[in-house]
Structures are given as structure tokens and as C-alpha cells.
């Protein structure tokens, strides 16, 4: 208990300092206004206190100039703060291109994490320093929230929909990982650590950890095992649309609308194939709800993505 009383969190991501500066500026503004109000209240309470021989109250109805002044000043201040903070928001929510993709599945009450290189971890996330990392997250049950205070970032992890967040750690060390959205009995034990390592340490760790197959290899195997390839042959005249080169493209649907071929669409089509049918195809695909877990769907997504990535032998979009 007495090993020092921390009053400020570690700052260990590329944008955490920007958040801190903004925070400290707001703290400064708040202290200024709180002291101003407090000083005026104390001053008036003493200076104009009711006492024997006081002159009594001077009736003042108001002042347009003052009202305008103290409407305009807060307005300008909060608008400036809005602009400043929204800039920070865009920094934190827009991942750089080619961030490393990690997959996170939340469930009551643990975090399951898979590295792009195939390693799996529970409640611990090892990451290299100075590498932008994007997490693609989904929940198997209720809403969770992936929160790393030292990086000043969190994002809700929803069931039925992917959410993402990104960070680039700047300092090696071990940091708290919390679930920040109340998720039931052991909410406060849905915690873990983010371990930031120097590049070479991370490589050593990777080679030491039991590296399973990469998500996309697992996805490829699942694609065959679930017999997806019998319809999605990639040949003309197949019963299912060709999936090569499709990632990120607009797809025409049978009802005349279009949809972007992305994670959410793929997930929906696997679980509820009737929802959106590609134009020119019959509605023949069965649902895989109950047969595939969220982890497996994420692997399939990784595989389908690789089919459109020339660098991984996929087709050009």
C-alpha cells in the first residue's frame, strides 16, 4: 500500500502526450475559473456582510455589457477547446495505413488476443515498441471496452459488430489493461497487461511463444473444412461469387443497392446469408451461425483479405 502514491498515469503512446497537454490546459482553465468564483464569493460575503450600521443592499438590475461579456468569453473558450480536442480525436481514431492487425475477442470475463503471426494470448498483449498496431475487436456476449490508460485510448467492444482502435507504444514497460464497460459479475477482473517490448525482445518473445498458424492460414483451412470452396470456387458460373480481389470493393446487391465488401459484411453474410445477396446469384448459402465462433470468423476474414492482397499472392482489387 505504501509504495508511493501515484497521481498521474504513465504516458506511453504517440498521442498520449497530446492528450495530457490538453488535459493540463483544461485543468489550468478550471483552476482559474474556480478560484475566480471562489474569490469573488468570499470577497462579497465578507465585504458586503450584513452587520450593524451597514448601508444595506444597492439594487442593481443587471448589465447587458456584463451578460454579453460572460456569454462570449465562455463561448469562445469552449469552442477553442472543442476544436483542439476534436483534432486529438481524429489523431486517436484514424489509424495509419499498414498498421499491424491484431485480433481481439472479448467475452465474460477475458480478453482473447491473436497476433498477426499466429500467437494467441489471454489477458496479455505483447507488442513491439514504435510499431503502429491496430486492434480489430468483437465481443462474444455483452458490451466490453478495451482500455489502456497509459496509451490514453479505449474503445467499446460490441457483440455483432467490429470495432477498431490503434496505438503506437513509445516506451517499453508493462501497463494496465482494463475492461471499462460494465459487463457483469467479474467486470473488475476482466483485466490484464499490455507488455511493450523493444523490437528485438518482441522478436525473441515471438519465437519463444507457441506460434500457431497465422490467422489467414487458419482461415484458409476453415474455408476448405466448412466447404466454402465448393460454391466460392472463383470460377465463372460458380454458385457463389468469386471472392478474390473483392476486399474493400463495392458489391452490387440483388435489390439494386450496393455494399462495401468488408469485415462487417463478410461476418453478416456468414451468419445471416439471407440479409444481403449479391446481384446475379441465387440465395443458396446456408447459415453458419452456431458453427463458427467469433475467432474463426476473424480467421476467415484474415484469409479473405489476403485473397485481395497482391503482396500475399492475392488478386489485385
Amino acid at each position: 500500500m505504501w509504495k508511493g502514491i501515484p497521481l498521474f498515469p504513465d504516458s506511453a503512446s504517440t498521442y498520449s502526450d497530446a492528450v495530457d497537454y490538453f488535459y493540463l490546459a483544461l485543468v489550468g482553465i478550471s483552476i482559474f475559473f474556480t478560484l475566480l468564483i471562489a474569490a469573488l464569493v468570499v470577497l462579497f460575503a465578507i465585504r458586503f456582510r450584513a452587520r450593524e450600521g451597514s448601508a444595506g443592499a444597492t439594487q442593481i438590475h443587471g448589465s447587458h455589457v456584463l451578460e454579453l461579456f460572460w456569454t462570449a468569453v465562455p463561448l469562445v473558450i469552449v469552442m477553442a477547446l472543442f476544436v483542439w480536442s476534436t483534432k486529438i480525436w481524429f489523431t486517436i481514431t484514424r489509424p495509419p495505413a499498414h498498421a499491424e492487425q491484431y485480433y481481439v475477442t472479448g467475452k465474460q470475463w477475458m480478453w482473447k488476443i491473436q497476433h498477426p503471426t499466429g500467437q494467441r494470448e489471454i489477458n496479455t498483449l505483447h507488442v513491439p515498441v514504435n510499431v503502429p498496431i491496430q486492434l480489430r475487436m468483437i465481443s462474444e456476449d455483452v458490451i466490453h471496452s478495451f482500455f489502456i490508460p497509459a496509451f490514453r485510448v479505449k474503445r467499446d467492444v460490441l457483440p455483432g459488430r467490429y470495432s477498431t482502435m490503434w496505438f503506437e507504444a513509445t516506451k517499453a514497460g508493462t501497463y494496465h489493461l482494463f475492461c471499462a464497460e460494465y459487463c457483469g459479475t467479474k467486470h473488475s477482473q476482466m483485466i490484464g497487461s499490455v507488455i511493450v517490448m523493444e523490437q528485438e525482445d518482441y522478436q525473441r518473445w515471438l519465437s519463444g511463444a507457441a506460434a500457431g498458424e497465422t490467422p489467414q492460414v487458419q482461415g484458409e483451412k476453415l474455408f476448405a473444412a466448412m466447404r466454402c470452396d465448393t460454391c466460392h470456387t472463383g470460377q465463372p458460373g460458380a454458385r457463389g461469387p468469386k471472392l478474390q480481389g473483392l476486399w474493400g470493393q463495392k458489391v452490387d446487391l440483388s435489390d439494386g443497392s450496393t455494399v462495401v465488401f468488408n469485415e462487417d459484411y463478410v461476418r453478416e453474410s456468414i451468419l445471416i446469408p439471407t440479409a444481403k445477396t449479391v446481384a446475379g446469384f441465387q440465395q443458396l448459402m446456408p447459415t453458419y451461425a452456431g458453427q463458427l465462433g467469433e475467432d474463426q470468423i476473424l480467421s476467415l476474414i484474415a484469409y479473405l483479405k489476403s485473397l485481395s492482397d497482391p503482396a500475399q499472392g492475392g488478386a489485385k482489387p
Partner: protein
């Protein structure tokens, strides 16, 4: 304590006009809360319709437009009889107030009876949301959400009608005691307002649930067909 004098003026009002205006404003304020109440459901409807247009079309096609149209007519008719009841109350003609209110009530029950027939048909087709829901031969489609909203919206509407019918019994009893005078018939007016509101909610529900989407899209190649 809450004494009411012979003219129907309660103790805390200065005159009947103030009392009447207060009641009217109160009723309108209440109807605004009702609009917000149904507004929440309409909001959910819009969100899901935007998310799942195909399921919405499929759901619409399961509803019986004929029965829906019959019910719309019945309800508009009941609004007319309710308006006549209010008019008679303003003339102090208590007998006709009772008669028209009774007619309104009967029409209300016709509506509810038709609704029961429709609900029964949905039950037979496994379209009641929940574990037993089946659409097009399988469970778990987005059509379930359409039907969840269909039942909640029409159910809430029916619930409001039942309350209205209860209030009408009270009006009929009071009318039979010759309680309404040209100066004091606020109750009938208030219940009239309420009934028209219930009617208007249906005027929105009918096209949104039954009509929109039925012919909205050209149906593509066998999408989601279940027949």
C-alpha cells in the same frame, strides 16, 4: 377537500373557464408525452428499416393489407362517432352522448377483434418473435426484429384503445345521469381528443407497417423468398 360545486367547478379554480382551459392544456401536454412515447418506437422502426430494408419488405408482405385497411376504416368511423358525441355533449344532449360513445366503443372493439384475427394468423405462421420464430423456414433472420416492432407498436396502440374504451364506459355512465351541460362537458372533449390521437397513431402505423416496402423494391432474384 377537493370540493366541487353544483356547476362542476373545483375548489381551486377561479371560474369554469380557467378550469376548462387547464384541462385542455393538460390533455394536450399529455398527448405530447404520448407522441414521444410512440416516437421512441418510430425511431427504432426507422433505424432498423434503414439497416435491414429487405427484411422489412419481407415482413410487410406477411401482413394482411385487407384486414389492415378494414381496421383503418373502422377506426376513422369511430373517430367520427366520437366527434359527434362531443358535439352532442356541447349541446347538453346526454342521451345522444351515451349513444354515440357506445357506438365508438363498439367500433373500437371491432378493431380489436380484427387485430386478434391478425395476431392469430401470425401465431399460426410462427411469426411471434421469440425462440419459436421462423421465417422462410429458418430462425434468426432480421425479420424477427420487424415483427418485434410490429407487435410492440400495434400492441401498445391496442393497449391505448382498451384504456380509451374504459374511459368511455365512464362517459356513458355519466351521460346516463345527465351530467353534461353546454357549460361543463370537458370530460367528453378530453376523451374525444385522446381517441383522435389513438386514431392518428394508427394512421401512421398502417402505411409504415403494412404498405411501405410491399411494392417498394423490385424483388431481385429469389432473395429471401420463403414460399
Amino acid at each position: 377537500m377537493s370540493s366541487v360545486d353544483a356547476t362542476g367547478l373545483a375548489h381551486h379554480f377561479e371560474d369554469l373557464e380557467q378550469q376548462r382551459e387547464s384541462a385542455t392544456l393538460g390533455m394536450w401536454a399529455f398527448l405530447i408525452t404520448e407522441i414521444m412515447f410512440f416516437g421512441g418506437l418510430f425511431g427504432a422502426y426507422v433505424v432498423y428499416r434503414t439497416m435491414y430494408p429487405e427484411a422489412w419488405d419481407n415482413g410487410s408482405r406477411e401482413l394482411d393489407v385487407f384486414l389492415g385497411a378494414v381496421n383503418t376504416t373502422v377506426l376513422i368511423g369511430s373517430s367520427l362517432t366520437m366527434a359527434l358525441a362531443v358535439r352532442c355533449a356541447a349541446k347538453g344532449n346526454n342521451k345522444q352522448v351515451a349513444g354515440f360513445t357506445l357506438l365508438t366503443m363498439v367500433l373500437g372493439f371491432v378493431f380489436l377483434g380484427v387485430k386478434v384475427i391478425e395476431y392469430k394468423a401470425k401465431y399460426d405462421h410462427h411469426l411471434i418473435p421469440g425462440p419459436g420464430f421462423m421465417y422462410g423456414g429458418h430462425a434468426g433472420g432480421h425479420e424477427q426484429i420487424f415483427f418485434a416492432l410490429y407487435f410492440t407498436m400495434t400492441g401498445m396502440h391496442a393497449f391505448h384503445m382498451i384504456i380509451g374504451a374504459g374511459l368511455m364506459i365512464w362517459v356513458i355512465l355519466r351521460a346516463l345521469k345527465n351530467s353534461y351541460t353546454p357549460q361543463n362537458h370537458t370530460h367528453v372533449e378530453m376523451i374525444g381528443l385522446y381517441w383522435h390521437f389513438v386514431d392518428i397513431v394508427w394512421i401512421f402505423l398502417f402505411p409504415l407497417l403494412y404498405l411501405l416496402g410491399r411494392h417498394g423494391h423490385a424483388i431481385g432474384a429469389a432473395t429471401g423468398g420463403h414460399h
